[in-house]
Amino acid sequence: MSWISRKFHNMPNDSTAKAFCMATLVGVTCALTVSATAVLLKPQRQANQEAFRQQRMDTMLSSLPGLKDVLQNSDADTLQSLFIDLNTGTAAEPAQIENFKAQALTVSDNSNAEIYTLALDDSIDIAGIEQRPNLIEVHLLQKKGVLDLLVLPIYGRGYQSTIRAWLTLSGDLNTVVALSVFEQAETPGIGARITETAWQQLWAQKQLHNENGDVALSVVTGKATNANEVDGISGATRTGLGINSMIQFWLGDYGFAPFLDKLRTGEIPMRAS
């Protein structure tokens, strides 16, 4: 070892070999430091993300008009969480959910990943998420056995980050109640304004479908001109386009469309209270 260290010290500073040695040493040391920090702090960061997601959910639900009264007037478990199978559009079996949750804990085991996720072709993957889980958790609020609110998680690529949001639909599965962005890292002051209450309030009462029955809810450049459109944020066109792609994907055939169809036709019965 001392031989190596002496040789290293005696190397002329401007030689190519020394440059390679130093670059490698500094690179490896820095890489180890960064990786160690990232791995050690990962559980803490994930716990924070999860707590924040839950908090956004609670804030959104408590800010919806009339929801507080509904919750107070009915038994507390009217707001239920439901894992649905996105491929079939039905509620997932308990065994499926157990497997799914267990798999989420051992991400490193990708041997039978196709059971849990669906790899998306470029032609389908308009939201830029590459793969989609087969099971996903949605939240339902029922009033006297009739669906009153449905909260769907949606996510996709924005301008420079993954945007995650809750899209809340009313019982008619067409009127938007709220959009609540709970994770993003868009440009501060421009794209990041999608987290502002003033902008999110524009989504209330918008219609998901147009008169042809197509999903037409979208952020436009400039001012909204009809019930499907939401005002864009100036300078944040690409963030808006990202949100539009998310909506198109998640309410399309590879997203919640099969589930929503089954809800409309009554194939998924609402639990009588």
Partner: protein
Amino acid sequence: MTYWRRYLFEPLLNNNPITIQMLGICSALAVTTNLKTALTMCIAVIVVLTVSSGIISAIRHHIPSSIRLIIQITIIASMVIVIDQILQAWFFEISQVLSIFVSLIVTNCLVMGRTEGFAMHNDVVPSILDALGNAAGYSLILIFVASIREILGMGTLLGIPLLPLAEHGGWFEPMAFMQKAPSAFFIIGLLIWGIRSIKTEQVEPAKITLHNTPPVSATSREGGS
């Protein structure tokens, strides 16, 4: 023992990185909307600059000059990532607001300026003192600008209400402009004017004179973001 005082205290006012060297201006605009984010940014810059200066000074005899900038950036960037991870783990709310600016410490001219300009040529202890002094000088300006912007823009300081707001029946109408980035330019500009009025030795000689007009004092020293 006066040399360490010079390294530590000169950058506070006499050779302040923001008001004299004009370094680190863009982060000074971005994070000063309120005092809390400014304080967090200050701590992040102090830690990153001090530790990177110390490391770079310690290995400076072995850094080949052909790749010195890359080595410096690698060390600084690693420090920045570590700080960002720590913020995300233990100061989650602040990290939501600051994350992008913390990442941008890598490109903060102040950090590269001190490591390339000082730590590459000086011993470890002076380098650390110089880094502390410059980071403190940067912090001083950030805290000053952020306090003004938060008080006038929101009527609060560190989130504690100071001025009675008009919407709650008081007399103070918050100035929305103070929450926008350009207001920091005005505050820093006025601050530089103020400091140079008192410390006239900081006034720079005019570089250009226009025909038929009195000499204009040009303050176009080389600076950066």
